[in-house]
């Protein structure tokens, strides 16, 4: 039994089948990159995992416990209530950062934790006080190298800095798996490096399990334990970076890698 097991995920928008029978496994501490050309369902897959879309079929389990199946989408089903509990397995970093503009960098990170601890206090569970919340949040801000920007508002930060704050924020509830949807594609080329570096550090120093949708092939090859090529909503290839990049068995993947190599050489 793998840590994360994704089984036969199906998803359609109306008549358009976007995900077809998507399955893969991921072990604790592993980094998975999802690659594929535009419109092949990468974002949709991440959104399904994060309960932002309802799936039509399939299931997801963590440590053998089912955390998503098709019944989760049905609002009348009691399982739907579990979404808020199961969500805590994931953190999600968006392409467009989506920081809350009215809060400082530090407050952006603190807010989710504050709200959760308030709930815990109400329920009579042990909880963190404001000072502890601030300390933990500041610690995360340090991890992404932005301690000195703690009092700055998002509009005062560069895109790369905003994304690093967003990464820290996604980690504040201590998710099991950190998901990224093209974390650098909204950034100017000269800013992608700092974000990729932070992600690399999270892997090297903290062994965080990650799923990264990316168009940065070199980065994917370097950081990943597993690579998944999604083509027309199907898993075309799934394996180690060298299996997928160097000798892909699948024709779609061959083509995709070849066209990428061509683009790089031009």
């Amino acid at each position: 039994m793998a840590f994360l097991e994704v089984r036969n995920i199906e998803k359609s928008f109306g008549k358009v089948e976007v995900l077809k029978d998507v399955s893969f496994d991921l072990e604790l501490g592993e980094v998975l990159s999802i690659i594929g050309s535009s419109g092949n369902g990468k974002t949709t897959l991440l959104r399904c995992l994060n309960y932002l879309e309802t799936i039509d079929g399939g299931a997801v389990s963590i440590n053998g416990e089912i955390i998503l199946d098709e019944e989760y989408g049905d609002r009348k089903n009691p399982k739907n209530k579990k979404i808020s509990i199961n969500r805590k397995h994931y953190g999600l970093v968006f392409q467009q950062f989506n920081l809350f503009p009215q809060y400082t960098a530090l407050k952006n990170i603190m807010l989710p934790l504050e709200l959760r601890e308030k709930e815990r206090k109400k329920k009579g569970l042990n909880y963190l006080d404001n000072k502890q919340i601030e300390e933990e949040s500041l610690e995360l801000l340090k991890k992404v190298g932005l301690e000195e920007k703690k009092d700055n508002y998002p509009c005062e930060l560069s895109g790369g800095q905003q994304q690093r704050v967003a990464i820290a924020r996604a980690m504040v509830l201590k998710p099991d798996i950190l998901c990224f949807d093209e974390p650098t594609s909204a950034l100017d080329p000269e800013l992608t490096g700092e974000v990729l570096k932070v992600i690399k550090e999270l892997k090297d120093e903290f062994k965080i399990t990650m799923i990264i949708v990316t168009h940065e092939m070199e980065f994917a090859r370097n950081i990943s334990d597993k690579v998944l090529h999604l083509s027309k909503g199907k898993v075309a290839s799934f394996g180690t970076p060298s299996e997928v990049f160097d000798n892909p068995a699948n024709d779609d993947t061959k083509q995709f890698i070849a066209s990428y190599e061509r683009m790089k050489n031009e």
């Binding site: 968006f94 467009q96 989506n98 920081l99 809350f100 009215q102 807010l111 709200l115 998002p154 996604a170």
Partner: protein
């Protein structure tokens, strides 16, 4: 003579300010309620409310004042209540006119406000809701902790326009003999005195200025972030 007329105009002005203040007090929350109705997933409710808003915005406020003051009495024998406040400038026979005007203003402005609220809420990107949602917030927390202040910031400029317009619109209440500032000035005009109407204009102008300054202060307060 000057002081006597000043005091008469001031009495009228007090009524104008009353009308202005209470209209805002009622129409701001009522507008939010109407906005939630128009955005409701319950189709009949949303269609009904959209229709009401369309009518309120599509017909003259003066017409609505007449309708609200006269029609209930003519059709249902309903009289707007007379309240005894004990204030001499606000006698009980007058209060029914004032209340009718207040109802007309409140409902009319609520319709305008509801559209502004709706525009504001819909202009917040979906990504804000989704980011909050994946961070474990529930609907109430998302609205109050994440969305509301952004909406307020976005709607302050169009709201300011409406509020300024409302100051001037209070003069419409004179059509059902609410003795607000315009009504008093008009009485003087009918006796052949011209200057009080200019004097009244000055009252409106100064009040406008004060409100404008307050609103731009609020706008400035929220300028520390961008949406």
């Amino acid at each position: 003579m000057f002081w006597k007329i000043t005091s008469e105009l001031l009495n009228g002005f007090t009524i104008s300010i009353f009308l202005f203040t209470f209209t805002l007090l009622f129409s701001l929350p009522l507008g939010l309620l109407m906005c939630f109705c128009t955005m409701s997933k319950v189709k009949p409710l949303s269609i009904f409310m959209k229709f009401i808003v369309l009518i309120l915005r599509g017909t003259p406020l003066m017409l609505q004042i007449f309708v609200i003051f006269y029609v209930p009495g003519l059709l249902f024998d309903f009289q707007w209540p007379m309240i005894n406040t004990g204030w001499e400038w606000f006698d009980s026979s007058f209060s029914s006119r004032f209340i009718a005007a207040l109802v007309a203003f409140s409902v009319n402005y609520a319709a305008y406000f509801s559209e502004i609220y709706r525009g504001g809420i819909q202009s917040i990107p979906q990504g804000q809701y989704e980011a909050a949602e994946v961070l474990g917030m529930n609907k109430r927390q998302i609205f109050f902790k994440v969305i509301l202040l952004q909406v307020i910031k976005r709607i302050i400029p169009p709201m300011s326009n409406e509020v300024i317009t409302l100051i001037k619109d209070t003069s419409l209440a004179n059509v059902i003999a609410v003795t607000e500032l315009m009504f008093v000035a008009n009485l003087k005009l009918k006796t052949g005195l011209i200057w009080p109407i200019f004097y009244a204009g000055l009252f409106y102008f100064i009040f406008n200025g004060i409100v404008t300054i307050i609103l731009s202060k609020v706008e400035k307060k929220l300028s520390y972030f961008k949406v």
